[in-house]
Symmetry: C2
Subunit: 143 residues, 2 copies
DNA sequence: GAAGATTGAGCACTCAATCTTC
DNA sequence: GAAGATTGAGTGCTCAATCTTC
């Protein structure tokens, strides 16, 4: 049980604070604009990338790091809002194909204009390009 | 409405992923060890730093970036578990002094041995000291 | 028995409304 | 009226149990 250095602890504290600050700012921007929360955006973006064939739920779980039960209820809500459809899966009777609808694509696009602006305000304006490259690279090694 | 660069977007994606991965790992470690969640730890640590005079709730709000209603119910649960006490505030009848109890200090200490080990496993082992210094510094400018 | 997915019950979060004291 | 704090009602998260298909 090796103890973490002061620097390691400081990294975690600052990582948690930065995440919390940025996330609440983004969520507030989306809500103020009448958009669905960020978790919906993540799902819709993945589905849009998958195209008409749709995506399996367990694939989304891995990509978005979500537990099964959370994704299941998240999909319920998004489907109820009309932004995705559950279709039967030909080659596996247990599963289903999740397909984004036209209105789903539209709301994702609208949300992106709000979302991207919030990212620029909370991150882009605050750090230099070299810092950003370094930051993204080091962070990638942590997940 | 300036658009964010690809690097800026990548920083946010990796920041969110790293945070999610590290946080769930830490929470799992705490739960497996029979410890309260991380939010309790944050409150208890701040109270321990304040000593016998205790801390005002609105001060915790600022330090922990928590909304009023969330902190209020968080304090309820921690108090019910016997880890803190709400005492009258002499100079302000609206507020109260939040004071950590002996068992609160004990559980915070026990939780730290689990928590610190999890930090070392998820962060310390994965990045170099120079990367860590740089990371902490840049992250600090984001919150 | 394992994998994909859902569900019931309990707990935590959220918002707006409220209360008390300043 | 503003600041510190709490609360009711609605929503979302969590865990374990469950169901179906592989």
């Amino acid at each position: 049980m090796a103890q973490p250095s002061k620097i390691t602890v400081e990294v975690w504290i600052q990582l948690a604070r930065a995440h919390q600050a940025i996330l609440s700012s983004i969520e507030k921007s989306l809500k103020d604009a009448g958009m669905p929360p960020l978790s919906w955006y993540d799902v819709l973006l993945e589905l849009e990338r998958e195209g008409n064939k749709g995506a399996r739920a367990f694939v989304l779980q891995e990509k978005l790091l979500l537990p099964q039960y959370r994704l299941s209820r998240l999909i319920d809500r998004i489907e109820k809002a009309g932004y995705l459809e559950r279709l039967a899966c030909d080659d596996d009777g247990r599963g289903q194909r999740l397909v984004i609808t036209q209105s789903g694509k539209a709301v994702r696009k609208d949300a992106w204009s709000i979302y991207s602006d919030a990212i620029e305000q909370t991150i882009g304006r605050k750090i230099s390009v070299p810092s950003g490259k370094m930051l993204a690279e080091v962070l990638m090694s942590l997940s």
